[in-house]
Symmetry: C2
Subunit: 297 residues, 2 copies
């Protein structure tokens, strides 16, 4: 197993999910064209499709065919895009640059950006509800979990609210982890669980996959904080140093760069450890954890 095998897999996963997204998103020539352009602008702005890749990797591990997970993977990416659009708004993180391109409200306008996010969120649930390849009860389970991972008190929106409230405030390690388990963690966890649920795995397998994804989500956030503190705007494709500027509590502000790097390494080890009972079959998932850590190297 080499890194290039994972990178090949990711490229394929991105291609598959992009095709589904393209088929599900409303056309730019249909009215309201401005809204549809905005939805597509942000959805196809060059995201790495980390969550869909994770979902496809878990599907492969659990021997579920792609058809059982590809619409849900697209739904997850819609929810992720919705959250980026709203988080970038002036009233929130006020970001003008994302993946090297103007954010939705800069490229279009604030009202359109708010509505584009709203429409993507609604469409995500429709994508799963309309997924005729999945049994009804599985679709219901996926929709309920996606809604929980998105909203409050256990989802992304709760995490974003806590993150905003923590600005200019000293918070401790427990609070920081709590924020990120929700803000970034909930949707990453759902990406992994959704594939396991679609595959119909045993309860112990589902627990192991949930544990892995929870650690992976934390790792993702720690490395995100490290990237923000150490990389240039050019490399990041988004404004660097925003966290320090907005006095945000991050793994870097709390632990310093070196300690945060150590914590990232430990979190990766914990993620990988939770895959032990899958043996060799989980090698690409381990590789995903390693490559997430390697982002900051």
């Amino acid at each position: 197993m080499t890194m290039s095998e994972l990178s090949e897999f990711s490229k394929n996963a991105a291609k598959k999910v992009d095709a589904v997204l393209d088929s599900l998103l409303p056309k730019e020539q249909d009215e309201p064209a401005r809204l549809h352009s905005a939805m597509r602008w942000s959805t196809f702005a060059g995201g790495k499709r980390f969550r869909p890749t994770l979902a496809f990797l878990v599907a492969q591990l659990c021997a579920a065919p792609d058809e059982r997970i590809e619409r849900t993977a697209a739904a997850i990416e819609m929810v992720h895009t919705f959250s980026l659009i709203h988080d970038d708004l002036p009233a929130m993180d006020d970001d003008e640059l994302r993946r090297g391109k103007p954010t939705c409200h800069i490229k279009f306008d604030e009202a359109t950006a708010i509505l584009a996010g709203d429409a993507l969120l609604a469409l995500a649930f429709k994508a799963i509800a309309d997924d005729e390849g999945l049994e009804c009860d599985i679709r219901i389970k996926l929709i309920a979990e996606l809604a929980e991972a998105t909203g409050t008190p256990r989802g992304m929106v709760a995490g974003q609210q806590l993150d905003i409230l923590s600005e200019n405030k000293k918070i401790d390690a427990v609070e920081l982890e709590h924020i990120h388990l929700h803000k970034t963690g909930a949707l990453i966890k759902f990406a992994a669980r959704s594939a396991a649920l679609a595959a119909g795995v045993s309860e112990p397998d589902l627990l192991a996959i949930t544990e892995f994804a929870t650690k992976l989500g934390l790792l993702f956030q720690i490395t995100d904080d490290l990237l923000d503190a150490t990389q240039s705007t050019d490399v990041l494709g988004k404004t660097a140093g925003k966290d320090e500027e907005s006095q945000k509590s991050t793994y870097v502000s709390l632990y310093g760069i070196e300690q945060a790097r150590m914590l990232a390494g430990e979190t990766m080890d914990a993620a990988i450890a939770s895959l032990s009972h899958f043996g060799d079959c989980a090698e690409l998932l381990r590789q995903l954890a390693r490559s997430t850590l390697a982002r900051t190297a």
Copy 2:
């Protein structure tokens, strides 16, 4: 059948949906408390529960017990509240007053208002997904239709975008109707259809109910425009004359007050006509159409 029978029914419907909303919305003492307070502030700001009342009326007509529609009615009210919160934002209609109280972003702040809307939208889908009294395939159908009625190109978000784009522009009657069939109409239509779907009515009954609700939605919007043009801020509980101030195309700006009143009357007649094959059983629904028109008398 008297108007007071409808008003009794509405009061009961509001009480029932409020109890379900209270049980489904996150508690104010749970974190993030500010987010949960904002969600509850806007949900319990004194709305008339028009859509839930319509859903309960159709359920009664179709002999479906309350338990089969009350969670969906609550979900519809969550989606309605989400749309009000986002529409009131400074980047959209910039309203400071709603039902005589400060709007969500005034009472709290913009970021919290955006997130409260987002969280309500996600929770609406969870409410239906978790409705164990309904068969799986009906829940799926309701979720798919609610998502369509919310998003774009056939839902509320599309209507709001078209409405914003029409400001300071002359639009014709066809465009105006198109905007409102989406902005107000889609969710009102879904409120009626959801009860019919939960009851498992025949296709002709579903069509008649859909036709009625479509006309009722238009009537609702025409009377809304009339109220905005003719009533004081005090009576409305929201800033009066906003439409003219923002140069919005409305039924009043397009037709004038007298003609708009006539159109409202005709629309009510058409709504009532579509109920003919239900006979006397639909009397309260007819009364709802009459009372919607009577708002402007």
